[in-house]
Amino acid sequence: MSEEPRPYTLVAELTYRCPLRCVYCSNPLDWASHTDALSTEDWLRVLREAEELGVVQVNLTGGEPLLRDDLEALVEEAQRLELYTNLITSGIPLARERLERLKRLGLDNVQVSIQDVTAPASDRIAGLRSFERKLQVARWVKELGLPLTVNTVLHRDNLDHVGEIVTLAESLAADRLELANTQYLGWALVNRQALLPTRGQLERARDLARAARRRLTGRMEVLFVTPDYYAEFPKACMDGWGRRFIVISPDGLALPCHAARTLPGLVFDNVRQRSLGEIWRDSAGFTAFRGESWMAEPCRSCERRGLDFGGCRCQAFHLTGDAAATDPACSLSPQHTLIETARAATAEPAAELIFRSPRRPSPTG
């Protein structure tokens, strides 16, 4: 890559707080120890600095971004900066009037998470009675003329419902359906034995999603994100470290991905201390795994290294203990047996679910 890296997307994690307790939450296990330290002014400055750097799209997410009462001010500023503004929400708590206000201020798209196709199943994964309210919010989104993305995180208990999830999204007139297989980091890694599906489940769901995508072409975009655990090669995590994305945590860390702060030994700068431009260009955290010089074999000489960038650094660390190792999801990784063992364990009964809570779960999970 001779081209100077430029961020295109800012992921603004406005808070780690959330009314839901999803068992696959991607927030760090110690989320409760990080406060919402950034003020409205801080966030407004972050948006401006991000746009200066080249960012054209902002995802307002969390936790639950609706819990910040300055969401309106941020949407307004993002719109002034002509950033494509996407609200990623559980839909709770939201009144129709607030959604209407956000639309008026320039919100471009609303992504609502729906955990499953029935209230009991969806509420069980979310750890909160929320299904009906989510459907209500999704309907308001469309009534107000906003584009709607439905996002469902897939796992062992809902993969067999992909057909029904498509039907539900169609009935809500969603513009886009994201069927995202669980990424096994954060709370999802704690719950891996309960959530990891079998290969058969996955292949059936993938075929259904493909058929739906063909049938709905031009009407509803259907996206199926395959899980690393059943792929031959890892995904290009975040399109490469420090290459396209900046994540800002609620306490102000600028991160290459939402889980990067869990990597030991890396120092990440805070946007309250340095400008985003400086952090992006030459902070230790952003440059640690940028490019290819950090790679060891088999990545270093692999012809795919410019496609998947060695996979996910966080997955490498949490499974092998070494953040610079080849992602074990890669079939070429010398530690790929870690993935094979997890896959083999799907033949065994699922473990009990551990809900996201303010307290870190015990290491055995």
Partner: protein, 93 residues
């Protein structure tokens, strides 16, 4: 093949934005962006619901002093790509 008298418009989720860093237009939509070349940007800017596909072809043929038949081919291919991704609507959906 999109009908000659269809009047394409950008889908609700899509916004056209001038990318001042790279001096080019981009189409932005949830979690994605599509970089447009000059011709692509010209076509998209005419996707307002006012112009028919035939009208878009005529305008571009005039602007670039080219045969409408050649331009038609290019416009069709480009619009079909956008339609397939759900980025434009062609009126009757």
């Amino acid at each position: 093949m999109i009908a000659d008298d269809a009047r394409p418009t950008l889908a609700a989720k899509v916004r056209l934005r001038w990318d001042r860093r790279a001096s080019r237009y981009m189409l932005l939509y949830p979690q994605r962006g599509l970089v447009l070349n000059a011709t692509g940007a010209d076509i998209v800017q005419l996707c307002t619901g006012e112009h028919t596909v035939g009208g878009i072809v005529d305008q571009l043929a005039g602007k670039y002093a080219r045969e409408p038949a050649d331009v038609a081919q290019q416009v069709q291919t480009f619009l079909a790509r956008l339609a397939e991704r759900g980025l434009i609507r062609c009126g009757d959906e």
